[in-house]
Amino acid sequence: MPSNETLLEVKDLRTYFHTDDGTLKAVDGISFAVKRGETLGIVGESGSGKSVTNLSIIRLVPSPPGELVSGEILFDGHDILALPEPAVRKIRGRRIAMIFQDPMTSLNPFLRISRQLMEITELHLGYSKAQAYEHAIKMLETVGIPDARKRVDEYPHQFSGGMRQRVMIAMALSCKPELLIADEPSTALDVTIQAQILELIKKLKEETGTSVILITHDLGVVAGMTDQVIVMYAGKLFEQAPTKELFARPGNPYTKGLLRSVPDPTSEQGTLYQIPGQPPDVAHLPPGCPFAPRCERAEEICHSEFPPLVQLTSDHTSLCHFANEVYEASGREG
């Protein structure tokens, strides 16, 4: 259960990439908070800035070309952006852990699973070799690897995709992190394996009280896994709300379009709603609202003036000139 204590607070984060093609504002003024024990979903399409947001939190944005232009990232009260690199390294992997979409990008193919798992607890928790080895086996058992004691000394290629993702989760959870950032953790996996991994994250979260940031493009996964959602588009935070509220009563035309365009297997649908046009080129955004060229509700002002972040309720915000009206309409339709 989420508590009221804030674990992470991101304030006005801006991460830009300086390219030959000009400055790409990958993340441009994002603010949000995660409470202890809470799962926050970040939804967005490719280029929305959802992954860069999280690389910024753990200060893993490659620089150059990337630059953390401004903002604060308060983790348990300390601003990560103001900390010296060694201090950040102490937090990363220990208090904040990550799981990526492709486990092979994070597992070293030349090292035994045992070595890779032991490294973390030796480094962060000062375990002896024997302690770390036993802990590695225990972690593999926790994430449901059969015959953990036998398999702990195998290499990553001897594991299937789903099993590798379990190893990743075991690594991430080795030091009992307070925050787990999972970037599309189940996207590359088959449907039945995806269900296993999501159930595992849910179970471990309940047992340890870890907060989770879940980055995904799958609204079904968001619906089943998260307490809060933020929707990103073109580097901007378009909408934030508690999950149930966001699905029941979206206050932004982009969110609304996205929700309507997903096939719902539980009901008969005619033609799907489709958002017209193409995702924006983030290096060359139009003035005004970046979604305006694709928005049905857009008026003249949307093409010329950047929209305000409108507070719809105490915990629901929307970036739109017509947020109140869209929200009211969703309420009537709902």
Binding site: D190, L219, V262, D264, P265, Q274
Partner: protein, 346 residues
């Protein structure tokens, strides 16, 4: 539901696949599939990676040579045609690929890409061909202004549209759509699904829609076939498969699909399967799903279950159910009402 609907007449069947096998050395990618695809329908083919669904799609078009079995297209067995005869038939059978980045020649302009099949089959020349290319681009929602541009200048969704225009150029009767939306963003997926549906209505196309995405498959398909390790395990109307799956694998697959509704997700009972999909190199004996099946009994390890019509127009491969006892939950522990039928088949 159309349970009363009579069996389709033979003329309604466009593609008839009989005991098709595709083996790559020891890997039995497709291992004895029989299936009929009706004129004008969308048949969804769903399964997890390595189940053989893409290989089946390619084998139908003979882009991959079948090891044995036949594929009848309007009464002609494609598997027995010579290469020259096959080339003429290819006109009627087209494919759209998953990766719109890899399936378009980067050195050809969009106009050349869409025009190539017109030249290959001598369907149009000169101005007529130009006009046809423009018309095709407009049909798939691309401006004909783009005709001189190269694939890299387009987004993923636009490239998929180019691939669709190329497939349509020869006026095909049948299109295999192999994971056509998997590489696309959510907002673009709906555009492509709608486009495929619109084209089907306008041009009376028949689709084999291959995907691992049950939500998309459920949306576009009239019927759905579920594949597991080279075999079909269930075939039924799209809605029936979703509302009333009979085979335990299908049940698990459907319960695993995340539904975009927090209220439904909060109360759902999910069947989480143990373990991974076994390797197709050495598939389990008997029922290939027995290693992961929550309902497994001893006989499942030895007897290969045939695809049986358990309910009208609803086929499933499981010895623990039968037309008299279609619901596995209601079958007594250890019982296998379908066993007699399975043994008849041997």
């Amino acid at each position: 539901m159309n349970n009363q609907e009579s069996q389709p007449a033979t003329s309604d069947i466009l593609i008839s696949i009989r005991d098709l096998k595709v083996h790559f050395g020891r890997v039995k990618a497709v291992d004895g599939v029989s299936l009929e695809i009706r004129n004008g329908e969308t048949l969804g083919l769903v399964g997890e990676s390595g189940c053989g669904k893409s290989t089946l799609g390619r084998a139908i078009l003979r882009l991959t040579e079948p090891t044995s079995g036949s594929v009848f297209f309007r009464d002609r067995d494609l598997a027995s045609l010579s290469n020259r005869q096959l080339r003429q038939h290819r006109r009627h059978l087209q494919i759209i690929f998953q990766d719109p980045y890899a399936s378009l020649n980067p050195r050809m302009t969009v106009g050349q890409i869409v025009r190539e099949p017109l030249d290959t089959f001598n369907l149009a020349k000169g101005r007529e061909a130009d006009a046809r290319v423009r018309e095709l681009l407009e049909t798939v929602g691309l401006s004909s202004r783009f005709i001189k541009r190269y694939p890299h200048e387009f987004s993923g969704g636009q490239r998929q549209r180019i691939g669709i225009a190329r497939a349509l150029a020869v006026d095909p009767a049948f299109i295999v759509a192999d994971e056509p939306i998997s590489a696309l963003d959510v907002s673009i997926q709906a555009q492509i699904l709608n486009l495929l549906e619109k084209l089907q209505r306008e041009k009376k196309l028949t689709y084999l829609f291959i995907s691992h995405d049950l939500r998309a498959i459920r949306h576009v398909s009239d019927r759905i076939a579920v594949m597991y390790l080279g075999k079909l395990v269930e075939v039924a109307d799209s809605r029936t498969i979703y509302d009333e799956p009979l085979m335990p694998y299908t049940k698990a697959l459907i319960s695993a699909v995340p539904v975009p509704d927090p209220n439904i997700e909060a109360t759902r009972q999910r069947i989480v399967l143990e373990g991974d999909v076994p390797s197709p190199i050495n598939p389990p004996s008997g029922c290939r799903f027995h290693t992961r099946c929550p309902y497994v009994i001893e006989a499942c390890k030895n007897v290969e279950p045939p695809l049986v019509e358990i309910k009208p127009r609803h086929f499933a491969a499981c010895i623990r159910i039968s037309p008299e006892h279609p619901h596995i939950e209601q079958v007594a522990p250890g019982e296998a009402p379908g066993l007699a039928q399975a043994e008849l088949n041997v």
